[in-house]
């Protein structure tokens, strides 16, 4: 603990000593990590969108015109009894027309046809546990066989595609994340190396008066952790600024695409994760750099005289 105070003090002195270089390193690291943040933001929002769509997975059971009330009643009972079904709503031909008219301004369209072409239907929402493609197919098959059922429409194929896209995105994320992690680690390793060289005389003196490699390393290691964490904080601030500026435009765009979901910033656990990950990368970077520098038995900065 006593030594920790010394190490912390030395790490802060290191940062102060190299503040100009440190500042530019932090900005460059912050920008790098921000790129990953942009990706996370994109991924998080797509995932949120898919999740919200999953919660409203539904299918429509269209009934043949003239289906008698008895058959409709039977079907309704069956739907209520089915444990896989969360809810079902009966929409009569009249109601369907009302909905149609409410959605489209061209009210004369149906009237021009003479009679109501819209079928009566059941709008069915499936419980979350049964929203997988296979379960949905089974449910649909069950109800398609009922008397009076014209057709069962299941509009979630695109959702399956979106899920595939999400999985692909996850893979891309791992790739980008890995690449950026290497970039950040290398950058911090290099910065620590420069800071180390700036203090080479002092380090040599420390070794001569009995400092172990561990003792010499710790302040630089702390510096690496701090740099990583600070870079993440800078990345988060930049990301937040960028998000705030772009949010309104993107939401208008998404609304025009039919999405009612608002854009969300990264959740707090992601932000904490980013800071921790940045810190860990800083630690790894400085560890690699210091191990290499201190392993050199006769570093070029030591002048040996006979």
């Amino acid at each position: 603990m006593r030594q920790f105070y010394y190490h912390l003090k030395t790490a802060l002195e290191n940062i102060q000593l190299n503040q100009t270089m440190g500042f530019f390193s932090l900005i460059s690291l912050g920008l790098t990590l921000m790129l990953f943040g942009v990706f996370l933001l994109f991924y998080g929002n797509v995932q949120g969108f898919v999740q919200s769509m999953r919660e409203s997975v539904q299918f429509s059971i269209y009934l043949k015109d003239g289906t008698d009330q008895n058959a409709i009643h039977k079907l309704k009972e069956r739907l209520n009894d089915d444990e896989r079904i969360l809810s079902s709503t009966y929409i009569s031909k009249k109601e369907a027309l009302k909905i149609f008219n409410a959605s489209f301004h061209d009210k004369g369209l149906i009237e021009r046809l003479g009679e109501n072409p819209l079928p009566a239907s059941f709008e069915v929402i499936v419980k979350a546990d049964y929203q997988e493609a296979k379960s949905l197919e089974e449910i649909i098959a069950t109800f398609a066989a009922f008397s009076g059922v014209e057709e069962v429409q299941y509009g979630s194929e695109w959702l399956e595609n979106l899920k595939t896209f999400l999985n692909l995105l996850r893979l891309v994320g791992v790739g980008i994340g890995g690449f950026l992690a290497v970039t950040v680690t290398t950058n911090i390793a290099n910065t620590i190396r420069l800071h180390f060289y700036n203090r080479r005389e002092e380090i040599e003196i420390m070794k001569l008066i009995g400092a172990t490699h561990g003792f010499i390393k710790i302040p630089f290691f702390i510096e690496g952790l701090f740099m990583g964490a600070m870079s993440s904080v800078i990345a988060i601030l930049l990301l937040f600024f960028l998000f705030d500026v772009a949010k309104d435009y993107l939401e208008v765009f998404l609304a025009s695409m039919g999405s009612l979901e608002g854009l969300q910033f990264l959740p707090i656990k992601f932000l904490l994760g980013m800071i921790l990950a940045g810190s860990a990368l800083g630690g790894i970077g400085s560890y690699i750099s210091l191990n290499h520098l201190l392993r050199l038995r006769n570093p070029d900065y030591v002048t040996k005289t006979p």
Partner: protein, 219 residues
Amino acid sequence: MFHVYKYYRKDFLALDDVNLKIEKGEFVFVTGSSGAGKSTLLKLIFCEERADQGQILIGGKNVSRLKERQIPFVRRNIGFVFQDFKLVKRKTVFDNVALPLEIVGASRTEIKKRVHEVLKMVRIEHRQSQRPAYLSGGEQQRVAIARALVNRPAILLADEPTGNLDEDLAMDIVGLLRNIQTAGTTVVVATHDRHLFEKISRRRLILEQGKIISDGIPE
């Protein structure tokens, strides 16, 4: 030291079959012309260089067989006063002297107490908050001695401790080293300064081309 050899290159023998015994609490001058091997001898004791052949025992411990990671612990028991002082430029006199204690994890109170003690001993207490650049050569040398002593080492090695100083200051520093020896520390001083060892009657080792050619207390 038993049959110690040190090569710097294949054809340059810095120490040639050196056999030497220094008693606890002794004061020894190591002299000889430039390149005779004085500094190398001190560096071998201090483990800054490793012997190519032979054994070096310090307090019964064979330092020539130590692993790299054990060396710092040996150095903590040996104070070394470097010719070029080797003070950390950006640290104050106090912080420079406190360094060996920081390394061993001494408490704040202990550090304050011991640093003041040695600064007082070398008479540089009044400059404790200055940085080395603002001190004279003599003052820097005192700080270097204070740092070498702060851990209360059993051995104090000084490599040309008066090399950059005028005669009066040099005698002052040697007086200081003698006081340290009187307090029980073994002191080994490498120097080519004749005035120093001619005025003080102490054991003198003369090295020539890496060999000890004379060892004894001059008349």
